[in-house]
């Protein structure tokens, strides 16, 4: 049994890192908003999904106009990424403005309900726009970056088999690393980043220190949503087919990643995302083997939620977070 697990391990790692990178970036969006507003932005998964749809729509449009053939594919992808992230960024700001800001002093329950509402609204909005234009709400993007590579793990030891990946996986991982480093630099080294950290720590005191709290919150939503939208495009390129309902469960898992890494903690969210991605892929590949065929790969979602529940119950501050005592 162990030999089988070892055999598939390299492939599990590669797939897990790709999935984990996606979780990690989305988790950033959750963690940043939670850090500042103490609100689970349910709509974040849907922003990711909308990003994927905008990206695919642009790619299809560019293919239709022959641009995609005319310019190098990587340039086209970068263009799409930039445009999508700006669009989804403004969408995030708009959502905050319309649905969350009027409720900032309401009980948390009410804001949360509004967030769920936004999430459902977006799902259906994207659904009917896509269905209206294409007759079907499941969308398949143009296939790009499909060249297969393999890493020869078998040359290290015969107990491993080779791992295969596509160019898109490589692009995904590189892009995610760039985004993470960029964000980390922004939050820790720039003035705006300092303002964000100040608002997260204490909103009222920050406003007394001449920080424009509303603008910082808008900026946070912009960055989180822009990153989420860009990840959506990368997701669509990597996995090909998208539908309007991918965002909810994926967002939930990304939230799990954020909790795993300690909510409000940006580096924690990155680590948590990678960890969850690898664990989930491991479960998908080996659950059947480990439980003697009782539980199959279809239980991988259950596995992810079980992780969430276990973490929330036994270590609600996450792996890298600090435990906070409630002030009375």
């Amino acid at each position: 049994m162990l030999a089988d697990i070892l055999q598939s391990l390299p492939q599990v790692l590669v797939d897990g890192i790709a999935l984990g990178a996606i979780y990690a970036v989305i988790a950033l969006g959750y963690t940043m908003v939670y850090g500042i507003l103490e609100l689970i932005n349910f709509a974040h998964g849907e922003i990711f999904m909308t990003g994927a749809f905008i990206g695919v729509a642009m790619l299809i449009l560019m293919t239709g106009m022959g641009w995609l053939a005319a310019m190098p594919a990587i340039l086209a992808l970068i263009l799409v990424l930039v445009v999508t992230s700006i669009l989804t960024g403004f969408m995030g700001v708009g959502i905050e403005r319309m649905a969350y800001r009027p409720l900032r002093n309401s009980p948390k329950l009410i804001t949360l309900i509004s967030a769920i509402g936004v999430s459902f609204l977006l799902q259906d909005l994207v659904r009917f726009i896509t269905e209206y234009k294409r007759g079907n709400y499941i969308l398949t993007g143009p296939s790009m970056f499909n060249e297969q590579f393999s890493i020869k793990f078998s040359s290290i030891s015969s107990s491993f088999s080779d791992a295969f990946f596509k160019t898109s996986t490589l692009i995904l991982i590189i892009a995610v690393v760039i985004m993470m480093i960029g964000l980390d630099f922004f939050v820790n080294k720039t003035k705006w980043g300092m303002a964000m950290r100040a608002v997260a720590q204490d909103r009222e005191t920050a406003s007394l220190m001449s920080i424009n709290v509303n603008r910082v919150i808008s900026l946070t939503f912009f960055i989180g949503s822009a990153l989420g939208g860009a990840t959506g495009v990368l997701f669509a390129v990597q996995y090909g087919t998208i539908d309007p309902y991918i965002g909810f469960i994926l967002g939930l898992k990304a939230f799990t990643a954020a909790v795993l890494g300690g909510i409000g903690n940006i580096r924690g969210a990155m680590a948590g995302g990678l960890m969850l991605g690898i664990l989930e892929m491991f479960a998908a590949a080996n659950l059947q083997l480990l439980t003697g065929g009782i539980f199959g790969a279809e239980y991988k979602d259950v596995f992810a939620f079980a992780i969430l529940i276990v973490v929330l119950i036994f270590k609600p501050e996450g792996l890298f977070g600090k435990a906070v005592t409630e002030k009375v």
């Binding site: 103490e38 609100l39 689970i40 319309m98 649905a99 009027p102 409720l103 002093n105 309401s106 009980p107 948390k108 329950l109 009410i110 804001t111 949360l112 309900i113 509004s114 769920i116 509402g117 936004v118 999430s119 459902f120 609204l121 977006l122 799902q123 259906d124 909005l125 659904r127 009917f128 269905e131 209206y132 007759g135 909810f248 469960i249 939930l252 939230f255 909790v259 065929g293 009782i294 199959g296 279809e298 239980y299 979602d301 259950v302 939620f305 079980a306 969430l308 529940i309 929330l312 119950i313 609600p316 409630e326 009375v328």
Partner: protein
């Protein structure tokens, strides 16, 4: 108009005459114009009017009973739309009971539960498994399917099993609060659905995605319940008990401690409220209503499969509670009725109408915009609009106010006269 309402206010006789007239007119129009959905809805609307009259409570209950048991089944019985009306009324009843259950958890105790449909699923599967041959796969004794007479016991069993799961979910969940709770319950709802979807191996318990077909209909003394008009009365009976229980709980000691926990856990605890017991009770009672209706649902549909218990269902029930007003029993009943009728009747009717128009070439109407498909959009919009503009819902909940002086005197008779109500301030920050 203002003059009219001010004249009506305080004049009970005028109110009662108007109400009776209204019921007569609507039921007559339903009786004559057979397949008219509008007439049916207008007749149901009389119950809302009844709520706003200033009659004594007992009389209100009596009139509601007469309308629900006598008038509605009788006047709709002659037409071709009879079974479909009864179907709608039955489903409304099922959802009202579930929404009342969720209302205890969300509205009174303030614990946002996004996986509430799981308890409904548990109730449905409890009856579904034993009332089909499915149970023979894993039960060492007994012959299955059980006869339809077991349905009556299974209402209780479903209630208890769902309550048990409510407590089981509650125990770990009690350690997390607020928005984390929402996520955990959401995860729990999904887990239950995925498990039911895959529990056909190693032992075939739920028959997986295929679902359980031909569930035995309820039976008593050889009389079988097959049609919606028969289920209508079962649902009505259960609903009556549920409403009675909810009204009792709401103003009892436990109801007041739920509200206290909702407003401030720490303050409630320091007043001697046992947090764990209070919250678990909210989960268990809320879940038990759902479980009972799950059993009825399984028997009514004669088919159970995991697709009936998705996240959308949980959110639908939440929308009912938010729309009607968190913590308000009449509000939640109204919310559940409005949303269910919207779902079953209005959206499909409007879609059919629009399709007919585009067939006739009056307008060109894209299939993608069909209102029947727009549930998520509508529900999302309702959630946002009500959260921002009217968090207390359509009919805000009310708390009784006791006059301190008269309480001190302790005379029971005196106290009864003094009870007035004021709006519940919980959700109006």
């Amino acid at each position: 108009m203002n003059k009219l309402t001010s004249k009506l206010k305080g004049n009970k006789l005028a109110q009662i005459i108007l109400l009776v007239l209204y019921v007569l007119i609507t039921s007559l129009s339903l009786y004559l114009a057979q397949a008219s959905v509008t007439a049916f809805l207008l007749l149901l609307f009389s119950l809302l009017l009844l709520y706003y009259t200033e009659l004594p409570d007992r009389l209100k209950w009596l009139i509601a009973g007469v309308v629900l048991i006598g008038v509605i089944p009788f006047v709709s019985s002659t037409g071709p739309g009879y079974q479909s009306y009864m179907e709608v009324a039955t489903v409304v009843g099922i959802y009202v009971a579930m929404a009342l259950g969720l209302n205890i958890v969300v509205g009174l105790a303030g614990l946002l539960d996004l996986g509430f449909v799981a308890f409904f699923a548990i109730g449905a599967y409890t009856y579904g498994i034993f009332a089909t041959g499915q149970a023979a796969n894993f039960m060492p004794f007994g012959t299955f399917p059980l006869s339809g007479e077991s349905f009556w016991i299974f209402i209780l069993i479903g209630c208890f099993v769902a309550a048990l799961f409510g407590v089981l979910l509650g125990i770990p969940v009690l350690r997390v609060k607020g928005d984390y709770l929402a996520i955990v319950t959401l995860g729990f709802g999904e887990i239950i659905r995925i498990v039911f979807n895959n529990l056909d191996k190693p032992v075939n318990i739920t028959n997986g995605a295929m679902g359980l077909a031909s569930v035995k209909p309820p039976e008593i003394f050889g009389y079988q319940f097959v049609y919606p008009n028969q289920f209508y009365f079962i649902v009505l009976a259960i609903l009556f008990l549920v409403i009675l229980a909810v009204r009792r709980f709401e103003f009892s000691k436990i109801g007041r401690s739920w509200k206290a926990v909702r407003e401030n856990e720490i303050a409630a605890q320091s007043m001697g409220i046992h947090l764990v017991r209070t919250k678990l009770l909210a989960f268990a009672i809320g879940a038990s209503f759902s479980g009972m209706m799950g059993v009825v649902f399984a028997a009514k549909q004669t088919f159970v499969d995991p697709t009936s218990f998705t996240l959308l269902e949980s959110i639908t029930i939440l929308v009912m509670v938010i729309l009607g007003g968190m913590g308000s029993v009449p509000g939640v009943i109204l919310g559940a009725a409005v949303i269910t009728i919207l779902n079953l009747q209005v959206l499909t009717e409007v879609t059919n109408y629009l399709n007919q128009l585009s067939l006739d070439g009056v307008i060109s109407f894209p299939e993608a915009l069909a209102p029947a498909k727009m549930q998520r959009f509508i529900f999302g919009a309702i959630l946002i609009i009500f959260a921002i503009y009217r968090p207390q819902g359509l009919i805000p909940s009310k708390n009784p106010v006791f006059d301190e002086e008269s309480l001190k005197e302790g005379s029971k008779k005196h106290r009864k006269e003094q009870i007035t109500v004021e709006p519940d301030k919980g959700f109006q920050a």
